[in-house]
């Protein structure tokens, strides 16, 4: 592996190569695809959360204009379930097939799919489907509606936390909760399915973060060889985790298309998208910290419970980051799971850890106050300069640089730690901070690169760009190694006919895809060099090792031949290279994580309790940012989402019957332009070559971790009110000692 030092293109701000298509409306998202003869599907959601579907009255809907068919439990083909294996690449979000039985497990579960000639005909008919249910009253409305603890699914411990707690002079013990959150990708979930031929081939357009997972799962479900299923996703209107794995609407749509012999497109209505394509589950976490009077952590206990559904088992592992967060000899974490009558939860940006870090980093702030220490100093005192969980060195950890640098830029030293002591106009100013972290991982990946006769290059990889900028960084990597401008590199992603690429998830795409793309680029250059030094070549008789690659040409001893000239001389349309890459033994030698620090200023008006985030200063250490323009955007976007998590977002389930009551964008509040504070994001540049030759660890999730606790800590500083339940709504501050009455 050759480290890419002093790069010309990688690590430099690069406008997106797909930008013009997105900004002119030319980019075709799945919702935009149309094919001849296409029908429209519109699901009918269950209006209860727990019981049995007794009857469907369909006559009126069937008689509506344009209605072609209505699929439901008694009118649906016999299909097989997907094995649901992460390892075998066929994981799905919900194993239960659509309409599989007549049980209702959650509000919004599909009970029928209306198929009609136009979208508005399908919608009108869906609204005329009548269902009769037998409700059952032992409903489980949600983790936060009761005190059930659930079953233990995972635990970890080192040292002896109980002995430490028995002797510790200072103990903090508190419980934190986080409301369920909705991903709300602006493009709703959508499937367009078409079947071709008598030996059937299934082509599916899906707005997905994982084309290969969907392909493999569809192959199992429809009992087809995987090569006869193609999944396409060129542009994705974001995902944040709920488009990682396939949901039942895709199965229902593909089944309808096969049954009716015509393509069918189902765009989930926003309400159904929020009810039935996953959410960050609610969590309840108890954190216990033991410390000596100097602030050295003696023990950490982190007990978490998260929700799952009654049809599937999703574990949101809240304590994942805790064992490696601080230098502490005695640590125990436990994860419990409680099944409730909600749609199946799924990963949402920085799943598990972002929730755990809210609890842990709030608790650390509370401990600092109990110890009368600066929260920043307490974190530095317990700095883990190696990974205490795995007892390995970090590949590269610049958290201290992040903490000190961001504190400096923020002006943390000027903070008056007394509650409510800092004011401007009608508002009280609160300062808070927290650390950020997210694991760094990579997956196996394949890629292909072609050098073409017109001098352009093609790079192909079966991953997808969910808005993070994957198209552009692939072009940057190829440009870096060939000297061909980014604009002359045609990047193909989002088709399962391309070499197998990774999920767009876990902040792993950059570190996974780029080494494979680099290997394929080198292989293509190798093919070109072989031709150039062969009989009749521009460099016939030269040693291949003497050829340099410069600005789209091969160069040796003052002689230069452009890629296109070489291909033209040999009457070749292109040469092609393949590459693959996978994690190696490095994980046995090092622990890999990204780190960061967020400093937040809130303003709170004690007269009307108006609360806002006014300023965020962040430093982020992700190794090298391949495209700092898009990488900074990722962090700023994560800060916006963190403000949502901290102050706004809460899916509300009726505690009486578990019905989701705010499944729309007016009642479920996501941050808008007016919520966005002043933001100052610094991306550190410490390339992590122990991880890959690009030195990049990935950027998508780290920025979200730590924002909510930094806000909560700032809210305490401003109001004197410690809020341990997210979101922090202004009514919870009305009993602040500082409120003006």
């Amino acid at each position: 592996m050759s480290e890419i030092n002093d790069p010309a293109i990688v690590g430099h701000q690069t406008p997106r190569i797909d930008g013009e298509d997105k900004l002119t409306g030319r980019a075709t998202y799945t919702t935009d695809w149309q094919v001849t003869g296409m029908l429209h599907g519109y699901p009918v959601p269950a209006t209860i959360a727990h019981g049995t579907l007794e009857a469907l009255e369909l006559d009126e809907a069937r008689a509506m204009p344009g209605v072609v068919d209505i699929l439901h439990h008694r009118h649906f083909p016999e299909l097989q379930r997907s094995p649901n294996s992460m390892k075998h690449g066929d994981q799905v979000s919900e194993v239960r097939l659509p309409f599989e039985d007549e049980r209702i497990y959650y509000h919004g579960q599909y009970i029928a799919l209306v198929v009609a000639e136009t979208f508005d005909q399908a919608r009108a008919a869906a609204l005329c489907v009548r269902a009769r249910y037998r409700r059952e009253h032992d409903v489980r409305p949600g983790l936060l509606s009761g005190d059930a603890e659930g079953e233990t699914v995972d635990d970890y411990s080192r040292g002896d936390p109980d002995i430490a707690f028995a002797s510790a002079p200072v103990i903090h013990d508190a419980t934190y909760t986080i409301a369920p959150e909705s991903h709300v990708p602006l493009e709703p979930h959508v499937t367009l399915a078409e079947w071709h031929g008598s030996e059937p081939r299934l082509i599916v357009h899906e707005s997905t973060q994982g084309i290969f997972y969907e392909r493999n799962a569809l192959a199992r479900i429809f009992d087809l060889p995987a090569e006869r299923v193609e999944v396409i996703s060129h542009y994705i209107g974001s995902g944040f985790g709920n488009k990682l794995f396939m949901w039942p609407h895709a199965v229902a749509t593909a089944a309808a298309a096969r049954l009716l012999g015509r393509p069918v497109k189902t765009v989930l209505p926003r309400q159904q998208d929020m009810m039935s394509t996953g959410q960050r589950p609610a969590s309840r976490q108890r954190i216990r910290l033991a410390a000596d009077p100097d602030g050295r952590l003696m023990a950490i206990h982190h007990d978490s419970t998260s929700e799952t559904s009654l049809v599937d088992r999703h574990v949101d592992a809240c304590g994942g980051a805790t064992p490696s967060a601080y230098a502490c000899d005695n640590v125990a974490t436990r994860q419990r799971l409680l099944a409730v009558n909600h749609g199946t939860p799924c990963p949402m940006r920085a799943p598990g850890e972002v929730s755990g870090i809210f609890a842990l980093e709030s608790a650390i702030d509370e401990l600092a106050l109990e110890l009368d220490m600066d929260p920043l100093a307490l974190r530095l005192r317990n700095y883990a300069d190696h990974d205490p969980q795995r007892d390995l060195p970090w590949s590269s950890k610049q958290l201290d640089v992040c903490l000190k640098g961001a504190a400096e830029r923020f002006g943390w030293a000027a903070r008056d730690p007394r509650i409510g002591a800092m004011r401007k106009g009608d508002e009280i100013i609160g300062y808070g901070m927290a650390s950020a972290t997210w694991f760094a991982g990579r997956q196996p990946c394949e890629a292909r690169v072609e050098i073409r006769a017109d001098g352009s290059l093609l790079a192909a990889c079966g991953t997808q760009d969910i808005g993070t900028g994957t198209y552009t960084i692939v072009a940057q990597a190829v440009a870096e190694l060939t000297g061909v401008p980014v604009a002359s590199i045609d990047v193909r992603l989002g088709e399962t006919s391309l070499p197998a690429g990774p999920l767009s998830g876990g902040s792993m795409t950059t570190a996974t895809a780029l080494p494979a793309v680099a290997a394929a680029t080198r292989d293509a250059l190798d093919a070109l060099q072989e031709i150039a030094v062969g009989p009749g070549g521009h460099f016939a008789g030269h040693d291949r090792a003497s050829l340099e690659v410069k600005e789209g040409a091969l160069v040796a001893k003052g002689q230069r031949a452009g890629f296109a000239e070489i291909l033209a001389r040999h009457r070749l349309g292109s040469v092609s290279g393949k590459g693959s890459a996978a994690p190696g033994g490095e994980r046995r030698q090092y622990s890999f994580r990204s780190f960061g620090a967020h400093f937040v200023e809130v303003r709170w008006d004690p007269g009307i309790s108006r609360l806002r985030v006014a300023r965020v200063v962040s430093s982020i250490d992700v190794g090298r940012a391949v495209n700092p323009l898009a990488a900074r955007n990722q962090v700023e976007g994560a800060i916006a989402m963190g403000i949502g998590m901290g102050l706004l977002e809460r899916l509300e389930y009726d505690p009486r019957d578990a019905r989701l009551i705010n499944a729309n964008l007016a009642d479920y509040r996501v941050p808008v332009h007016a919520d966005m504070p002043d933001v100052d994001v610094e991306l550190l540049d410490y390339p992590d070559f122990r991880f890959n030759e690009f030195g990049a660890r990935g950027i998508g999730e780290i920025g979200l971790t730590g924002i909510a606790p930094a806000i909560a800590n700032a809210v305490h500083h401003a109001t004197g009110k410690r809020v341990r339940d997210l979101p922090i709504t202004i009514e919870t501050l009305l009993d602040s000692p500082l409120i003006m009455t």
């Binding site: 298509d21 997105k22 900004l23 509506m64 508005d120 991903h183 926003r270 964008l665």
Partner: protein
């Protein structure tokens, strides 16, 4: 007597100016402008995000004003000028707002971008609209960007405003 929810079968004729070209449409009376643009006229740039006027992804211009196309019946547009994102670039030249979005990376997934851009253009062309940052953020708050590229969008709008003003001054100086 049971009221029928079935829509009437008849269609209406609607004449409008779409991206500068006269267009005559046959639409059912209940047809939504957004669905007509996308499904009937194959203009997919105007995005569908919620069908409830809550996300702004479907923003178009109706006689120069930013409107949620999902909240408007096509039949209401008789005689009106509709501009979509496809009609913004002129002769292949990006509109200054599109150019500014590109330079400032004012998007991530791009799904909300057509709506953001249409709102921004209408705002910049509105002589009544306040121009300070807070007013711009307020005016743009009907356009959700879940990726959270808000800072870059705001920077792009400020940049485009400077660009448009300097263009206007230059044109003013010419005879």
């Amino acid at each position: 007597m049971q009221m029928s929810l079935s829509p009437p079968d008849a269609t209406l004729t609607v004449r409008l100016i779409l991206n500068g070209e006269p267009v005559t449409l046959e639409v059912p009376p209940q047809a939504i402008l957004l669905d007509v643009l996308r499904d009937q006229l194959h203009l997919g740039g105007t995005k569908k995000g919620c069908d409830h006027g809550q996300c702004g992804a479907c923003t178009v211009h109706v006689d120069g004003r930013a409107v949620n196309a999902c909240l408007r019946l096509a039949a209401m547009c008789e005689g009106q000028a509709i501009t979509t994102i496809e009609g913004l670039a002129e002769k292949g030249q990006l509109h200054p707002v599109q150019e500014a979005f590109l330079v400032h990376d004012a998007y991530q997934c791009g799904y909300c971008s057509p709506g953001q851009i249409m709102s921004a253009v209408a705002l910049l062309e509105d002589p009544e609209a306040a121009t300070d940052d807070a007013a711009v953020r307020d005016a743009m708050s009907g356009n959700l960007c879940r990726c959270g590229a808000y800072r870059n969008i705001q920077a792009a709008i400020a940049d485009a405003r400077r660009h448009l003003e300097s263009n206007a001054q230059q044109q003013g100086r010419q005879p």
